[in-house]
């Protein structure tokens, strides 16, 4: 195909605007066509000085006013070839005529000359126009983007400033936090020192190092020793609570078999329970139940709940611990046959220092903080704890803990839930 010649089809009617657009692109026009359309085209083109119409193939119409026009008769492919040969680079060749001629001719056209029909050409023109419009739109969009980029830059700088401020504030907070933790350790030390001294001397006397004691003296000093221990436990519990409230308590989670954990605590309580002839029953439907929890903390919860049950259940009572697998959670229920809790006291059960008028059995006196701490420990594990009780009908404490085990699918890890 001769790429140096522009093709320009006109099929069917010649529209003026088509003509105007194309006229600009035409040089040294060769018109290959037949019939009235060719005449019309020539007439339409004749007003232009810039166009040289160099070849025309037509039948029997006249073609007035055309310079250098030559009418040759019914166009054939030989004529097309002839025109092609005569065409110089940059020339435009027009195909004009009705569809039938066009189709007939397009079969005849020699070589690889490409023919496009008018609609297609029209579309091409439109595309070209659209292309120009798109170019313009792109430029405008680009300018718009430049403005936005500038805006974003400013925002970026503002963010950097805020970030620095935030980093500063963060440093100050960390310092305050450190001071607070120092406060807790200082308090811990200051409170424990006099207790240690008291304890040491109490035991020096009890061990009869400075001299023998009478039975009364020994008894009274033992009371002192027990209360020193009680004070020690109270301080530990208070520190536990303030650490948890200051959100300083970090959980040290590992995979634990909660059944094992519970059994260990129960075993430890046996001596106390036996003293009151209390039966410690367990209802574990499975031998093992794994959870991802802080072992020490959950042991503390069991110890507290079971210890309370033993303390507040009268002789010959029964305490039952049931642990059940509830799919994503584990449910632990501790019931006793104790004296129960009055309805108006139920809401206060987990408050600090609430000890209702229940007669306590032997053993060290409680601090009043055990249940408050247990509640906080359970909630730190995202669990829940509650109590059901009726006076005379015993008490039941229930707590659930999310297992927090990894899902069976490979994507999730142990901390995902």
């Amino acid at each position: 195909m001769r790429e140096d010649i522009r093709l320009c089809p006109f099929i069917g009617g010649v529209k003026k605007d088509h003509l105007d657009a194309r006229r600009r692109k035409m040089t040294n026009l060769f018109i290959f066509g037949a019939g009235q359309d060719t005449v019309h085209l020539i007439e339409a083109l004749s007003g232009s000085d810039k166009l040289t119409i160099a070849g025309v193939i037509d039948t029997d119409s006249e073609a007035p006013g055309i310079r250098s026009a030559k009418c040759l008769g019914i166009p054939t492919s030989a004529h097309a070839k002839d025109l092609l040969d005569k065409a110089a680079p940059g020339d435009t060749m027009c195909l004009v005529g009705n569809r039938a001629i066009y189709e007939a001719l397009s079969k005849e056209i020699p070589g690889n000359m490409r023919v496009m029909d008018a609609p297609a050409f029209g579309i091409l023109l439109k595309l070209a126009e659209e292309c120009d419009k798109t170019k313009l739109a792109l430029k405008e969009a680009n300018d718009e983007l430049k403005i936005q980029a500038w805006g974003l830059n400013k925002t970026n700088e503002a963010i950097k400033l805020l970030y620095n401020e935030l980093a500063d504030k963060n440093r100050r907070l960390q310092e305050l936090d450190r001071l607070k933790s120092d406060f807790l350790s200082v308090v811990s030390h200051e409170l424990r020192t006099p207790l240690t001294i008291m304890k040491e001397f109490t035991f020096i006397i009890l061990d009869e190092i400075p001299g023998k004691l009478t039975a009364d003296q020994k008894g009274y000093i033992e009371i002192i020793a027990n209360n020193i221990d009680r004070l020690s436990r109270l301080i530990s519990d208070l520190l536990d609570i303030s650490k948890m409230e200051a959100k300083k308590e970090k959980l040290n989670k590992t995979f634990v078999n909660i059944i094992n954990l519970a059994e260990t605590v129960i075993l430890g309580m046996k001596t106390q329970a036996d003293k009151k002839n209390i039966e410690l029953k367990t209802e574990f439907r499975v031998p093992a139940l794994d959870v991802y929890v802080d072992q020490d903390k959950i042991t503390q919860v069991f110890t507290n709940l079971i210890g309370n049950a033993v303390k507040f259940t009268p002789e010959n009572g029964v305490i039952t611990l049931a642990i059940a697998d509830k799919d994503k959670e584990v449910e632990c229920r501790l019931s006793d046959t104790g004296i129960g809790i009055a309805a108006e006291d139920l809401s206060k059960v987990f408050s600090k220092f609430q000890q209702f008028n229940r007669t306590e059995g032997p053993g060290p006196k409680g601090t009043g903080l055990g249940l408050a701490i247990s509640k906080q420990l359970v909630e730190l594990h995202s669990g829940k704890i509650w109590v059901d009780s009726e006076p005379g009908k015993g008490t039941k404490f229930t707590f659930i803990l999310p297992k927090q085990l990894p899902e069976p699918s490979a994507e999730k890890g142990p901390n995902d839930k």
């Binding site: 030390h189 020192t193 240690t196 001294i197 040491e200 001397f201 020096i204 400075p210």
Partner: protein, 123 residues
Amino acid sequence: MAKKKILIVDDEAEIVKAVQIRLEHEGYEVLVAADGQEGLAKAKTESPDLVVLDVMLPKLDGFEVCRFLKFDEKYKKIPIIMLTARAQKIDEDTSKQVGADAYIAKPFDRGAVIAKIKELLGE
């Protein structure tokens, strides 16, 4: 057989007294010092068989006293037990770093301290 000498360095006089009563009852001779400087001086001049050293001391802290003794050819053989009420991991790590032979947190179990002393004295 001469009594074994134990040096206690702690600024809490009453705690020191309690420990002293116990140790003398067990048959040891007890020396005391109330601050780090005095403790270091007595350790060098009195040749104790064992030193019980508190961490929080005025003038020179317990870790420094331990370090001075343990990094000195003449005194490094003396067993040192460090005592502290802070009970933080960092104290345990530091006492290992300065060469202490044992680390006991306050409030200490008197049985544990005496057992440790006997152990370190090879009894």
